[in-house]
């Protein structure tokens, strides 16, 4: 398991954080996502043997946001 933080600059409200956290339920290999509108970032804890950074970024993009690895 690894923990990575991404900058998500286009979050505009707390609901955006909720939307990003919902990837927990759909993205295979994710253990936990903590997104913060205050910090405009999300921390993802995931199994790197099952999921890559690129896949996370793509899933975030699908939700309408841009994720930039920190």
């Amino acid at each position: 398991m690894v923990k990575k933080t991404f900058k998500v600059p286009d979050m505009s409200c707390t609901n955006c954080a909720m939307k990003l956290e919902s990837l927990e339920d759909t993205l295979d290999g994710v253990k936990e996502i903590n997104a913060s509108y205050h910090k405009l970032q999300m921390t993802v804890e995931y199994d790197e043997s099952r999921l890559t950074d690129e896949q996370i970024i793509a899933a975030v993009k699908k939700k309408g946001y841009q994720a930039l690895p920190i």
């Binding site: 505009s12 954080a17 909720m18 339920d25």
Partner: protein, 403 residues
Amino acid sequence: MSRNRKSSIDPVILIALGIGFVTIAIVMMVSQSNTYDVNIANNAGGTSQLAVAFITGLTTGGLSCLAVQGGLLASSLAHQIEQDYLEQAAQKKKQRGKKNQPLPRSNSAFPIFLFLIAKIVAYTLLGALLGLVGSYLTLSPATRAILMILIGVFMLGNALRMFNVHPLFRYFSIEPPKFITRYIRRTAKGTDTFTPLFLGALTVFIPCGVTQAMMAAALGTSSMAMGAALMFAFTLGTSPVFFIVAYLTTELGSRLEKLFMRFVAAVVLILGLVTINGGLNVLGSPLSIQNLTRNLLPSNSGRAPVAQAAQSSFAEGEVVLYVQNEGYFPQTISAPAGKNFTLNLVTNQTYSCARDFVIPALDYYELLPDTGTVQVNIPAQEKGNSLFFTCSMGMYTGQIVFE
């Protein structure tokens, strides 16, 4: 030609019409009842307070609440929107190569309606609870003023957050704890009926600035029935705007939503300033807009006879201040310095919040009868001093200038 297409009336139109009719009916009832002085729970100004609450909700509360509670509404709609999207995608696939046929209509109106019903019920219960709590404690005008200023600052911060002015303003948005968002998320996957109902009820935990002001007012009613009625009137008032905006934003897409949120931000910004200004009035601060500009603008135009009547009675050590539905007349009273006098507050079928009379500097607060005279002893003041008076909401103001 096949006629198998369902002749459907857009549910949005039906619900919007329903809300519109209820709105008109309530406004008519309130304006009628004002004539006959119907007070709920013996709380003075009951109906006028309800009318103010309703109109506040109708004009400003809806936008302000939407800015704060929009997330919950979006969550409650998420499932429906997803379903609509899948239905439309499937229909498009089927129709590929066929002539134009209408795509299934979006069904976001029903969850919005359920959400709003749950919200009204939850806030009415909250109002009853606040009224009950309020019956055990009394909010002084100064406390209320500070509360108003804090609420105004909160609204201002939220507006600046929406305008993306500085990252600092993001902290004006309250992030609910993770366990709540997880719970909401899991609930949002539930059935279409339960989710909006439940999330609508949850809005009591994230009240917007205007709602918080109304909650403070419900607390101040010191009556369970009046507290419930006040919150009901306010939440009902917020519903049409909430409904229309929520519907439009879900139907018209994110580009329009962004534009609309800018408009909401502008309105919330103005409301924030108005609320802070009201708080300053209730504090008796000379820095409120009315108190700063009063001497610059010609006041009481067309009210000269009233002003003269007020001045002429000074010889007897008494002065009359007419408390009317539109405010206080005259708005400026000139009084001789170094002399006590009696201020006669005269009401005549006055039902507006002008009856909640406050002189902050004297720590004087009185709920005036709708018709009658109440005397206030004004102690001698130094030359050049001003005593500001206002209603308890900081809407109507005036001053006594000592010369």
